[in-house]
């Protein structure tokens, strides 16, 4: 784990779970694997606090445990899954995606499960139905069966999955043989369980009724209440599926930017058709024939068959290589080149970063080096059509920022500088990794700045919260307008302005975090895809 990654993990844990969990978590990340006693001893926290923190982390799937180096007889060892901690940065995006696909119910289901780590189906349905009923006007209520149907849809499309079962030590639930704890280095993949996406049968007919008469909403059940038939079956969010969805979205939007709307619709159809057949880290989708694509196209797009063929040949000929042709049967067999699309998107990100930080001429040099691989300084000046002095400056600036590397090729065995070629080069993968670390550092800086701003204005924020509470209570008891204005005037005008600017700054910082996270996602997908294809 790099320094920046550890720092970001610490900040995220502190934001969501408090200082204690942050201390335990960062120490565990730095040490790798530790037992409970060692962790308590090294962090100098009371043992019970450490136990509580580990419970929280295990509940959210960020910490895994297993039999340690001494085998099943020895103490249990814990390790933190850093990737899982980084997912906390992306929670709003997951929830928004669920909302756009499955409406408010889907949004609330995903939100509940994300906040609680993992939950049973019945408790999720009950909580979500309660929340929806509270937001509805008096008299209406949310039927459990509607929530159950949305839940089933989420499971069918693999957005939710069952938590993998543990071969738990000590409990004899698995029968006569006490199965030992799984080795800590090989976590059980949730997809390896055959029942991963099987819904349990729960008896859920009923709904929450709001009583119209009393001022407190008394909850009455009509029909049968929830019964816990599915105890022990926990559901968690399938982050990988969400990531595949985001990747598809990125490809489709890139196609629509580069070409046009209709071609993006064609690519969307192709991706939709190969959703379930393509494994997660595949380099390209399954081959689809043009006939199948035509049949699967929604009629609302209004694309005729010859037009479809033209679009497909356009997509194949495009230098971005989103779609490739693998055969001629069935009117032409086409695949979406996932890995190459990701690589191109990452390359576009790198180029835009250089352009925004160093100017368009430096970006031209950068693109040139990406395309031509190795160039001498003179050749760079000639190809980029930039005067020598400025080209030299820009190259050296990029070199000092580590975006461009220098490759020495000696002519003689002693590396005499006058008899050595010095070639400039850009390697996409290491540069992407460098930029990813920059992104982690950026998000860490943004979070720290936001905490600093909040701390600086703590007094003012508390005062405004108290005044809002007083206003709310006064309004509830029906005070006059004069009293309300009197209370509002307790905040002076300059204080109000200060509050407004503080809110503006915090919104900007939060929004920047979300946007940097999109870049992190793109670069990480590219790096993972490259590593998987090797």
């Amino acid at each position: 784990m790099t320094t920046q990654e550890v720092r970001l993990c610490g900040l995220l844990l502190q934001e969501h779970f408090g200082n204690v969990v942050e201390k335990v978590g960062t120490h565990l990340i730095r040490s790798g694997v530790l037992t409970l006693r060692a962790l308590a001893h090294e962090t100098k926290l009371p043992l019970d606090l450490v136990k509580k923190s580990l419970c929280v982390l295990v509940q959210h799937g960020m910490c895994t445990f297993g039999a340690g180096r001494r085998g099943p007889a020895g103490p249990v060892e814990y390790r933190i899954n850093c990737e899982h901690v980084f997912h906390m940065l992306r929670y709003p995006r997951y929830i928004y995606t669920a909302k756009s696909l499955y409406g408010d119910t889907g949004e609330l289901i995903v939100e509940e499960i994300l906040q609680r780590g993992h939950m049973t189906m019945s408790s999720t349905v009950k909580t979500v139905a309660d929340r929806l009923t509270h937001n509805m006007p008096e008299g209406q209520s949310m039927d459990y069966s509607e929530v159950v149907s949305v839940f089933s849809q989420l499971v069918e499309t693999h957005f939710l999955q069952r938590c993998p079962p543990l071969a738990s030590a000590g409990s004899s639930s698995s029968g006569a043989v006490d199965t030992p704890l799984p080795v800590a280095t090989q976590p059980t993949e949730p997809e390896s369980h055959p029942d991963c996406y099987k819904l349990p049968y729960i008896n859920l007919t009923g709904q929450l009724l709001q009583s119209k008469h009393s001022s407190h909403t008394k909850k009455l059940f009509s029909g049968q209440p929830l019964c816990g038939d599915d105890d022990g079956i926990y559901w968690q969010v399938n982050f990988q599926r969400f990531h595949l969805h985001f990747r598809d979205q990125a490809i489709i939007s890139a196609v629509s930017c580069k070409l046009d709307q209709s071609s993006s619709e064609i690519v969307r159809t192709m991706l939709r058709m190969s959703e379930v057949t393509t494994p997660a880290h595949a380099a390209f989708t399954q081959a689809l024939s043009a006939n199948e694509i035509f049949r699967a196209l929604l009629s609302s797009y209004n694309i005729a068959r010859p037009i479809l063929d033209q679009y497909l040949s356009l997509l194949v000929d495009d230098p971005m290589e989103f779609v490739g042709k693998t055969g001629d049967s069935g009117g032409g067999m086409y695949v979406v080149n996932l890995h190459r699309a990701l690589a191109n998107l990452a390359r576009a990100t790198l180029e835009s970063v250089v352009q925004e930080r160093f100017g368009s001429r430096s970006a031209r040099i950068f693109r040139l080096l990406l395309r031509k691989r190795h160039l001498e300084q003179k050749q760079v000046e000639d190809f980029a059509m930039i005067p020598a002095k400025e080209a030299k400056d820009m190259l050296y600036k990029l070199l000092s920022e580590n975006l461009v590397q220098l490759q020495e090729i000696p002519k003689t065995p002693d590396y005499a500088p006058s008899r050595t070629f010095y070639l400039y080069t850009v390697n996409q993968l290491p540069t992407a990794r460098l930029l990813l670390q920059h992104c982690y550092k950026t998000v860490g800086n943004l979070i720290e700045r936001r905490l600093y701003e909040t701390k600086e204005n703590k007094r003012l924020l508390e005062k405004s919260q108290r005044i809002e509470a007083i206003l709310a209570s006064l309004q509830a008891t029906g005070a006059e307008a004069a009293q309300l204005t009197e209370v509002e005037e307790m905040i002076t005008v300059p204080e109000r302005q200060q509050l407004e600017s503080l809110r503006h700054h915090i919104n900007k910082l939060d929004s920047s975090e979300n946007q940097v996270d999109e870049t992190i996602f793109l670069l990480k997908s590219y790096i993972n895809s490259t590593q998987a294809s090797r």
Binding site: V20, F65, Q115, R357, F358, P417
Partner: protein, 217 residues
């Protein structure tokens, strides 16, 4: 190396042309301090994305942050005692205890060594209502008792004994129900001081004026 210094002093070992500066030119000044923390930017950053989607995700993020502070997963360390142990600490609200956990996880999915006692959630509905009536009666009795002691000095000793007996009974009730609201502590103690005497002043101005237990200066 050292031997060549006299002979080829003004010769450079590499091709000077590639560096584009002649022999007579001054080299760029070396840096004496580390680079500035916030270097001036040559180009201004591109403005952030805007739109409905961006605003919604921003609102979601801030909501999640606020609500996660209220969940039982947010573990707060105990406040360290600042200077002296104060008498009022005895009457402060129960701080989070270390040895119990506020939510009930599925212990079968966790290693056995992490098992902690689950804190039973305080039922604020039913329990105090049941015990409120005898307490109210006890309170009234005690007030009457006190009036009697003031009026009838001759029977002072006798009524004090009665008070002690009642307080002992209340103490017994106390021990059976340790998780009660702290209002009971008013009755339990033998002091004449009332609770808000020990108030830190944090709630100053926020309490309603109907609280008759407010210490009047």
């Amino acid at each position: 190396m050292a031997g060549n210094r006299g002979r080829g002093r003004s010769q450079f070992t590499f091709n000077v042309d590639t560096l584009r500066f002649g022999r007579g030119d001054s080299l760029p000044t070396s840096a004496h301090t580390p680079s500035p923390l916030f270097p001036p930017m040559q180009f201004r950053p591109v403005p952030l994305h805007t739109g409905e989607e961006v605003d919604y995700m921003l609102a979601l993020k801030q909501e999640l942050r606020a609500s996660s502070k209220n969940l039982p997963f947010h573990i707060k360390a105990a406040r360290t005692k600042t200077d002296v142990a104060r008498y009022s600490d005895k009457y402060q609200n129960g701080e989070p205890k270390y040895n119990c956990i506020e939510w009930s996880p599925d212990w079968s999915r966790m290693p056995k060594e992490l098992c902690i006692k689950v804190q039973k959630t305080r039922k604020t509905g039913a329990k105090p209502q049941l015990t409120q009536k005898p307490k109210v009666a006890a309170r009234k009795e005690e007030v009457l008792q006190k009036l009697e002691t003031l009026e009838k000095r001759e029977q002072e000793q006798h009524s004090e004994e009665e008070e002690d007996e009642e307080k002992k009974k209340q103490n017994e009730e106390e021990e059976e129900e340790p998780d009660e609201d702290y209002d009971e502590e008013e009755l339990e103690d033998e002091t004449d001081y009332i609770i808000s005497y020990f108030d830190n002043g944090e709630d100053f101005g926020a309490d309603s004026d109907d609280n008759m237990d407010e210490a009047v200066c």
